[in-house]
């Protein structure tokens, strides 16, 4: 702090607001010009270096798979379910597990079959229908030669039916809304998909789905769901569950490119169809024909 008194008499004392040096030397000094030039060259160099760095970074991020001549904007896939045609054989569940490498454990399913049993009303109660029992033992999948366990004695049953379940392909999908990293999205061809590279496995979407259509894959630790066999439909094949369904309970088609005797067009021409849980406002695209009031 005692440097001020020791300063030489000819020097300008270092004040808080010294006069600008360039202002004293005129508008364009040699030093100023050199500075500007160096800055400009440096800027250009940094920009090209940044471009190169960006390319290098994105090379690591990008997946190198080339498109296969399939344009997602020219298709709109949809599945519809005819409950009256489902015989509950479980072939679709088995095929889905095989095709998509879904873990064997009886609680990982991309699609499954629910069995609804409506009991007879209690005698004298005056009700039309009794209690409803819903189960899905091993997702409705039965090994050849085995039958599903009978939960309700035969004489107590009023009627029963099977309902196949899968991703409802919501237009306002809650799963896509809650994903914190944007890994779940609505693809333009009508499928709700998960980007397996960007999914962080937080599980929000699994909680958000009101239809219980998602699960956490224990191997990859990412959320998984029905993709409508995206690897098959983009190659002109039907989803595995539709392929094996013996009763044509699952109807599948491309709404933008209807074929001759299009099954999905026929379905909407001939059947009354309704979504599951319409009160939630998720606007499911998958519609069911022949639903009973008990189905959720």
């Amino acid at each position: 702090m005692n440097s001020m008194p020791s300063a030489a008499p000819g020097q300008v004392p270092p004040g808080p607001n010294p006069a600008p040096v360039s202002a004293a030397k005129g508008p364009v000094s040699r030093r100023g010009l050199l500075r500007t030039l160096t800055g400009a060259i440096g800027g250009v160099l940094t920009l090209s270096a940044a471009r190169a760095a960006k390319a290098a970074v994105q090379k690591g991020l990008a997946t190198s798979e080339a498109p296969k001549g399939y344009d997602p904007l020219k298709h709109k896939w949809l599945m519809a379910i005819d409950v009256e045609r489902c015989i509950g054989c479980g072939a679709c569940v088995e095929a889905c597990k095989t095709e998509n490498n879904v873990p064997d454990a009886p609680y990982y399913f991309r699609t499954w079959i629910e069995r609804y049993i409506i009991k007879r009303p209690k005698p004298g109660s005056g009700d039309a229908r009794g209690e409803v029992v819903v189960d899905s033992v091993n997702g409705g999948m039965r090994k050849a030669g085995t039958r599903l366990p009978d939960l309700v004695p035969k004489e107590e049953i009023l009627r029963g039916f099977y309902v196949p379940k899968l991703c409802n392909l919501c237009e306002h999908s809650p799963c896509a809304q809650v994903c914190p990293v944007g890994a779940t999205f609505d693809s333009p061809d009508g499928v709700v998909l998960v980007d397996p590279k960007y999914c962080i496995g937080c599980g929000f979407c699994i909680q958000a789905c009101p239809y219980g259509c998602r699960f956490m894959n224990p191997v990859t630790h990412t959320a998984e769901k029905c993709t409508m066999c995206y690897h098959r439909i983009t190659r002109g094949l039907r989803p595995a569950c539709v392929e094996v369904c013996p009763g044509e309970a699952r109807i599948f088609g491309d709404l933008k490119n209807p074929v001759e005797n299009d099954p999905i067009t026929r379905f909407f021409e001939t059947r009354k169809a309704e979504p599951l849980k319409p009160h939630l406002g998720t606007k499911p695209r998958v519609l069911y024909a022949g639903l009973d009031m008990e189905v959720r």
Binding site: T63, E84, R115, G145, F161, F185, Y230
Partner: protein
């Protein structure tokens, strides 16, 4: 007029944050983001490239068109080849790989009596429908209405 130092520091901080955000965004946004919507377009290709296992009825038709055409006229016309014969892509790629033989259990998987099944389906009770015989002794799987 001088900028007060506390304001200057705030401006500096803001510029720093905005710059680092823009730099991160510039570098880390995947190139295919926004190609089809608010997601990474490459994810579609990633999902397309997953391996298949079921070949589809068209692939069966290429070699076994006789059986496929006969089946298309019979009661079982809605049943796909791979519903009973199992996954077939390995067999399509290499005909040396044989498919498993369908068993009686495959018949009862669909035709065993079950209260939850629709009434249009032919259902039997395996205990009294046949007496230790195999289904194919009386029924032809491809033409269920014919007798072998």
């Amino acid at each position: 007029m001088r900028i007060p130092p506390q304001i200057f520091r705030l401006v500096l901080l803001t510029v720093g944050i905005v710059t680092s955000y823009s730099a991160a965004r510039y570098f880390l946004t995947p190139p295919s983001f926004g190609q089809y919507g608010w997601f990474r377009g490459d994810a579609l290709h990633l999902l397309q490239d997953r391996p298949r296992k079921y070949a589809g009825r068209k692939a069966c038709d290429e070699c076994h068109s006789e059986q496929v055409q006969k089946l298309a006229k019979a009661e079982h016309k809605t049943v796909s080849c791979e519903s009973c014969h199992g996954v077939g892509l390995a067999h399509v790629d290499d005909p040396g790989v044989t498919l498993g033989r369908p068993t009686d259990g495959l018949c009862t998987r669909c035709h065993e009596r079950d209260v939850a099944r629709p009434v249009w389906l032919h259902q039997i009770n395996p205990k009294n429908h046949y007496n230790g015989q195999h289904c194919v002794e009386c029924h032809v799987p491809h033409q269920p209405n014919e007798v072998p």
